[in-house]
Each structure stands twice: as structure tokens, then as C-alpha cells.
């Protein structure tokens, strides 16, 4: 007993205790649900058997039925569009802003930090504000586009099937640009200045320096950021709930919203779980890449 106590206070037991309890907590509340999801996707589940593990095993039937649904491929397509457009938009705008603020004039770092308010706001509030900005008849976004002669009539962002997904994408780009900018700024400031001086002496122009120094030096930050962006974007749920709710007629529905809708609105838990498993595989691949990109760490 005394040895146990002294190990807890002064030895290995201390470390094991500190790491063991949180890990156990995470395994119970994240690991077990994950496994449960995978198991459930191979079973026939209804409202009454939701609480028991022993359920008829149906193999890949849930997946087959899911893929056979007419909305499956459109929704997967929307998910891909949502991912690609959001990540590209956030990254390119964020990179442009980071490069601008890298000029390091007085006040740059304070102003740059201010941008991050878009990222700390509750997703529901961001969604509500963009829902109003993108309103068809009275939205100020349409007004601005009209004044700039980009559109001639009003665009019904949320209710026109051709634009509903894009209204969520616009809001999501706004939300994530600042985070991308901050992270890219860190990468930019870690490039040694003498590299640029040397290149300038050798007569390299601004564009050459960007292509031959900035981009290659930023490779691991960019890799980490894009995979992090993939993870965040696949988690985006609040904006869908606040702007379009997946509608009209699934034209802005994506996998993560559909899975929730199937489970909690239509009580089709098995299909919801099947989508989860498909998405989890994608997310896992992204995070393996993220972990690999962030491994160049130095003990400070």
C-alpha cells in the first residue's frame, strides 16, 4: 500500500495516473461510440433495438440500400463540392491576407488578430447573420453585387437549388479564412529572412522568390493546414442547420448533415451509421496526413 502511494506521488504511477484517466474517459466517450457506430452499420436497427447490442446481422445491406437511394450520389457530390470550394476559398483568401499582413507595418499584428473573431463566433450566429445577408429580396449581399453590376436580378441564394449549397460555402469561407490566415502567418514568419536577401542579391524578382522560396518553405504548413481544413470542413454542421437545413429538396445536403438527419429525424439509425463509417474513413486518412505534416517539431 505504501509503495503504491509513493509511486503515485513520486514515480511512474504519477504519470500513468495523469495520462490514464483522460485516456479512459476519451475511450469510453469517443472510442466506444466509434466502434458502436461501425457495428451498427452492419446490423438491422430500429427504435426498439437501439439500446441492445444483439441485433440481426445484415452484412453490407445498409450500405447497399444507402447507395441505391436516389439522393446518395448527389449528396456525395455536394459534399465534395462543399469540401473543395470551402478549402480552396479559405486557403487562397487566407494566404493572400497573410502575405499582405506579412509586410509588417505598425498595427499589422493587432489587426490581423482581429480577423479571428469570425472563427471564435458560435457557428449558429455566423449562420444566422449570413442567412440574413444572403436573403433574396432584402439581402445586402445581393444589393452589393447589384451595385457592382455583377448580377442584374436578385439571386435567391437559399431557396434556389442552384445556389443553396453555395450560400453555405460562402458563409463557411468567411468563417475559416481568418484561421487559415493566422496559421499561414506563422509559417511565413518562420522563413529565415537571409534566404530572401541572398535571392535578391542574385537578382531574383518578387515572383521568383515567391515560387522558389516561400512556397517550398511553406510546404509542411500548407499540408497541415489543408488537412486540418478538410477535418474542420467535414465537421461543419451548424451553418447547414442555420442557413438551408439541407434544402431545398436536398440540393444543399451534405454527408454530415444527412447522417444526422437520417438518425434523428427519420430514425433510420443503421443508414446514419453507414454514412458515418464512410466519412470516418475519409477523415482518418486526412488526419494521418495531418499528423505526418506536423511531426517536424523541436523541443523548445
Amino acid at each position: 500500500m505504501r509503495r503504491l502511494y509513493s509511486s503515485l506521488v513520486d514515480g511512474r504511477g504519477f504519470d500513468l495516473c495523469l495520462i490514464g484517466i483522460p485516456l479512459a474517459f476519451l475511450i469510453v466517450l469517443s472510442g466506444v461510440p466509434l466502434v458502436y457506430n461501425v457495428v451498427m452499420s452492419f446490423q438491422a436497427v430500429d427504435m426498439f433495438s437501439l439500446g441492445s447490442f444483439i441485433r440481426p446481422w445484415v452484412g453490407f445491406d445498409n450500405y447497399r440500400q444507402l447507395i441505391a437511394q436516389p439522393e446518395f450520389w448527389p449528396i456525395m457530390g455536394h459534399t465534395a463540392t462543399f469540401l473543395a470550394a470551402s478549402i480552396a476559398g479559405q486557403f487562397l483568401l487566407g494566404f493572400a491576407l497573410a502575405l499582405f499582413f506579412w509586410l509588417n507595418f505598425p498595427g499589422a499584428s493587432w489587426l490581423r488578430g482581429l480577423f479571428l473573431v469570425s472563427w471564435v463566433m458560435p457557428g449558429l450566429v455566423v449562420g444566422a447573420v449570413w442567412n440574413w445577408l444572403l436573403s433574396g429580396d432584402f439581402g445586402v449581399f445581393n444589393f452589393v453585387l447589384h451595385q457592382l453590376h455583377i448580377i442584374s436580378g436578385n439571386v435567391f441564394w437559399r431557396s434556389d437549388p442552384a445556389f443553396a449549397l453555395w450560400s453555405v460555402i460562402i458563409a463557411n469561407i468567411w468563417l475559416g479564412t481568418s484561421f487559415n490566415m493566422i496559421m499561414l502567418s506563422v509559417g511565413l514568419s518562420s522563413i529565415p529572412a537571409d534566404l530572401y536577401e541572398a535571392a535578391e542579391l542574385d537578382g531574383a524578382g518578387a515572383l521568383t522568390r515567391f515560387w522558389t522560396i516561400t512556397l517550398p518553405m511553406m510546404r509542411s504548413s500548407i499540408g497541415a493546414l489543408v488537412s486540418l481544413g478538410l477535418i474542420f470542413t467535414l465537421q461543419q454542421f451548424d451553418l447547414f442547420a442555420a442557413i438551408t437545413a439541407g434544402g431545398p429538396n436536398n440540393s444543399s445536403n451534405v454527408a454530415q448533415y444527412w447522417a444526422w438527419d437520417l438518425s434523428f429525424k427519420q430514425y433510420d439509425f443503421a443508414k446514419g451509421a453507414a454514412i458515418s463509417v464512410i466519412m470516418i474513413v475519409v477523415v482518418m486518412l486526412a488526419s494521418v496526413y495531418y499528423v505526418r505534416s506536423t511531426r517536424h517539431e523541436v523541443r523548445g
Binding site: 504519470d15 439500446g51 488578430g113 469570425s118 432584402f138 454542421f237 444526422w260
Partner: protein, 275 residues
């Protein structure tokens, strides 16, 4: 062009960029202050003719926002407390050692962070129903958020612990301190700032959390503001000034905290996430 003029021009351009980027926030506050007819005017007015300050107390009363905000605060405080207690120790161990097991642990923690909440909610719902935790819905949401956000906390705080020199702790051990004593009186105080920043970020996240609260809390008097706001926005609403007033009341404390602590939050965030 002299250096000062150049700097001034850059600053003006930066302010312009910030104004464009933060316009949605401005529009939220301005819409809240407009009258019902001014809100739908074309062309829209960019400054309210007759600011309706009374809309804030009115919406607060009408929607019972006191209770919503209180629930958000309870949920956020509970989550932060649980995450800080469990996560700080874990990040300390993950920062102090380097071996295969630590790598495995770190990888596990990162993996658990990436699962979308909207997918994990069904099994969590089942788990909480079976164990009876669902009878205490706010506790259930706190547990779910803690599991979801703890990895993020660990990633940030681990970076802080990495920057605490190990020699200090070793010196304390040589001087006869126990491991617990050295951790408590040397390492923790040195890492305090990083832990605080991470805790604030977690608080903001939990204060705005939606998926778990929406799915786990049925009783309206236990729901947080995010669910309240969602219920307020029906599909064909035209009460936009009231919704924006709700959103303003909800988000202003977060924005104020952020602007006050901006420098620290940004540096805490950048030291953890990409290193």
C-alpha cells in the same frame, strides 16, 4: 515614397480589408437597431435613422434569454472545468516523454478529435440513455463536449509544456521535491498562461456548441442559446431585427472577451496547432 507614408498607406488598406471582412458583424448590430420597415427598405440603409435600443431588453424578455444564456454558461463552464482537470495532466505527460507509447497516445488523441460531432451523436445518445445520464441533459452535453474538445486542449497545452524547460523540474526534484510537488509548484505555474488561453478557447467553443445540445436536450428550459437561436429562425421568418438582436446579445460577451485577450489567444493558438 518615404517609409512612414508607405506604412500609413498599408495601414489604411489593412483597415479597409478589416472593414470589408467584418462587415457581417456590423450588419448584425445595425439590423438589430432598425425598425421593421427600415429593415426591408431598398436600397438598404447603412446607418439606422431611428435606432431602436429598446429591442435588446425586449428580445431578452420575449425569448427568455436569461435562461438560455445561463444554460450556455453552465455547459461551457462545466466542459472547461472537466477538460482542464483531465487534459492538463495528459498534456504534461505527452510533452514530458518521447517514446513509441507517447506517439501512439498522441496519435489516438488526434484521431478522436477529428470525428464529426453529428456522426458521433447517435452512439453517444444510446450510451447516455442506457446509463441514465440523459436524465441530466446538461451533464450529458458537458460530458459529450469534453470528449469532443479535450484533444484540441491537449494539443495546445502540450505545446506550452514543451516550452517549460525540463531542467527546472529536475532541479526541484534534486532539492527533494516529490513529483507531485514539482508538478504543482514549478511546472503548472510556468504553464499557467498557455493553459488559460486554451481554456478560454474551449469556453468559447462550448458556449456556441449546437449539435449535442440540440440532440440531447429536449426540455426548452435547459437548452443553451444556440438551440434557442435555431428555434427562433423558422424557415420563413421575417423578424430579422429581433433575430439579429438575439444574436448580438449572445455573441457580444464572446467578442468582447476575444478583443480584450486577442494577443494572447492568437499566440496561444499559433504555438499549438501547427507545431
Amino acid at each position: 515614397m518615404s517609409e512612414t507614408t508607405k506604412n500609413r498607406l498599408l495601414l489604411v488598406f489593412a483597415l479597409l480589408l478589416a472593414a470589408v471582412y467584418l462587415f457581417p458583424l456590423y450588419w448584425m448590430y445595425i439590423t438589430a437597431l432598425k425598425t421593421g420597415s427600415e429593415m426591408f427598405a431598398t436600397p438598404p440603409s447603412f446607418w439606422p435613422d431611428d435606432p431602436q435600443w429598446s429591442i435588446f431588453p425586449f428580445v431578452f424578455q420575449l425569448k427568455g434569454m436569461g435562461q438560455f444564456l445561463w444554460n450556455s454558461t453552465v455547459i461551457a463552464t462545466g466542459s472547461v472545468a472537466l477538460i482542464a482537470v483531465l487534459g492538463t495532466g495528459a498534456s504534461y505527460v505527452l510533452a514530458r516523454y518521447r517514446n513509441v507509447w507517447i506517439d501512439v497516445g498522441l496519435f489516438l488523441v488526434l484521431m478522436l478529435q477529428v470525428l464529426p460531432a453529428s456522426l458521433m451523436i447517435t452512439p453517444i445518445f444510446v450510451l447516455f440513455t442506457l446509463t441514465g445520464i440523459l436524465d441530466f441533459p446538461r451533464t450529458a452535453v458537458i460530458l459529450a463536449i469534453a470528449a469532443k474538445s479535450m484533444p484540441f486542449f491537449i494539443v495546445l497545452v502540450r505545446a506550452t509544456f514543451m516550452s517549460v524547460p525540463m531542467e527546472l523540474e529536475e532541479a526541484a526534484l534534486v532539492d527533494g521535491n516529490s513529483r507531485v510537488g514539482a508538478f504543482w509548484s514549478i511546472v503548472l505555474p510556468l504553464a499557467r498562461n498557455g493553459i488559460l488561453v486554451a481554456a478560454i478557447l474551449i469556453f468559447m467553443q462550448a458556449f456556441g456548441e449546437f449539435v449535442y445540445s440540440k440532440s440531447l436536450i429536449q426540455e426548452i428550459e435547459l437548452q443553451p442559446s444556440s438551440v434557442g437561436l435555431n428555434a427562433f429562425m423558422g424557415p420563413n421568418t421575417n423578424e430579422w431585427n429581433r433575430i439579429m438582436a438575439f444574436a448580438s446579445i449572445y455573441v457580444t460577451p464572446i467578442l468582447a472577451t476575444f478583443v480584450l485577450l486577442q494577443r494572447r489567444i492568437v499566440s496561444g493558438l499559433t504555438s499549438g496547432a501547427l507545431k
